[in-house]
Symmetry: C2
Subunit: 365 residues, 2 copies
Amino acid sequence: MTAEAADREARSLLTHVVEPATVGVGRLVAQYGAPDAVARLAAAAPSGRARDLGRPEARAAAAESLRQFEAEGGRFVVPGDPGWPSQLDDLGDESPFGLWVAGRGDLRLLALRSIAVVGARASTDYGARVASLLSTDLAERDWTVVSGGAYGIDASAHRGALAGRGSTVVVLACGVDVAYPTAHEALFARCADSGLLVSEAPPGELAQRWRFLDRNRLIAALTRGTVVVEAARRSGALSTARHAADIGRTVMGVPGSVTSQASVGVHELIRGGATLITSADQVITEVAGDPRWVDEPLPGLADVAPLPEALGLVLALLAPRTPLTVEQVALRRELTMPEALALLAGLELRGLAARSSRGWVSVLD
Amino acid sequence: MTAEAADREARSLLTHVVEPATVGVGRLVAQYGAPDAVARLAAAAPSGRARDLGRPEARAAAAESLRQFEAEGGRFVVPGDPGWPSQLDDLGDESPFGLWVAGRGDLRLLALRSIAVVGARASTDYGARVASLLSTDLAERDWTVVSGGAYGIDASAHRGALAGRGSTVVVLACGVDVAYPTAHEALFARCADSGLLVSEAPPGELAQRWRFLDRNRLIAALTRGTVVVEAARRSGALSTARHAADIGRTVMGVPGSVTSQASVGVHELIRGGATLITSADQVITEVAGDPRWVDEPLPGLADVAPLPEALGLVLALLAPRTPLTVEQVALRRELTMPEALALLAGLELRGLAARSSRGWVSVLD
């Protein structure tokens, strides 16, 4: 087995047996690599479900689940893959071990120009209408909409993006082959047709209540900014905004009637510093200060047309807030320094990477 | 005739013949005093209505209008009067020559704890309801509501304040004895019963379109902060907010539906830096950072109970942004330095004045 295959299998196993955002495990993986981390965890004889890390039958089952998922057209994307959305690295030790992805879109490319449109399940007609209109306008401007799969604002956002003939990404707390809520089975299928279903939970995993809050960090990290459309005080939708703020993403809110409980949380968010927005253009201007993104959208970024592979491999290494030196890029991609520099410059020309005083970053914020 | 009476008559004449906020005239008055300024202007043979400044019959008519207004229970308040709201001095050369006041309230005391609640004439049901609820809550917390006399948000604000058994101040662009719009005659009478009607236009003066924008500077300057409830893009209500920002008052806005044209101007205001507010408590906290004002309202400030006269005379000199030295206070009130200092300290103890590095100011912001 190649080192790459071993890494993928170990990460697949981790998604099966370790709860998302378990920081200690993330640190072990970052330090020793996934296969060695799994071996160390297994040797430490963990309790509960994590004991599976050491059982041959659990390893075999995880490998089989991976094989079968890919045979059915799905992808398991891990750090270092060309398709890995490197902005997730901003989550540090809480970055997912890997993402299970189903659908036609390219996750990394879709995420490059993406906005999270989130809000309460218990939305009002007003909230549902605004989420839908906003998402249609974003889609028509070639921005990807990212949201959860819940009733209310999430579903309205996806429907709006589909109406705008755009791509929309559903980030699920259950496996991407589990339609939860079941009423959204057809909606999810339509989203997968032009966009993606994404989860850090492996196929077949059912929705667990505690996973929704962890899932929200992925929505925040995948996107350049989060728009909260409606949220009551202490609504779970606000956790996406908190995650977004924590990792330096732009947080925005749609105002509503002060007499509506469904807007109370959004108004608090705006009073706390989030930007009040009333249109897709304001959202795009807010997240993409560089007017290139607003006035002359780079063609094809939201399409599936890929970058030259060599560029894509380098871009996949870069994160917006964790600069890499040319040496680090050269080392990780087995390039000479001049080759690495040429590829980084190519990304810079395309507006996808930028040189900071501490190294190279992707330009996601 | 005493110097004081001559000043009042000259200022009364100025309100009759000079348009509000005519900066050159304000500067002359500040430099030479009102009687001398009138003489100089008359000698300069001005054109138009201002020629009346030199005509004996115009002077006699202005004096008679003053005498009659006061005989009917009105007051003409000028700078230096104990009842003068000294925060108007923040308007500099655009400060009014004097204010014509009708009603039971004490303008200076009412204005000390006051909030402007303003907005569009073409308000929605939502805007009218929120303006009214907000004003009721402000009134119940002993804050004075100040607004214009127009249909829409203005009228709803006054009605709400009256419902809260509070004082409300109507700042008119016409004379305080002219009910404009006429449909508000009964409303204005009720406002005068517990609050005030105020104008810089003399009695009998009809509403002129161009006066409304000038009037807005008085609403902004009299109050500690301005709340815009509803305003379409480029609504005149936004001019009150601009005046408020210009003189360092707090500007606040009530959010609404992003699909409502009546909220577009308010949302722009908030995006430009105004504070989103959703309740009277938020308004009070915003304008009165000092928690004394919020948690333990000073008793009686909004009532008619007057300060000891000596304190009132000194307080009337002070403005929030134009510090006076103890010497200046002593000179203007014909006090010894220790007397002036004792009175200033008395005001400080009551939370009405504060010592800054450049002198004494009133604590209106």
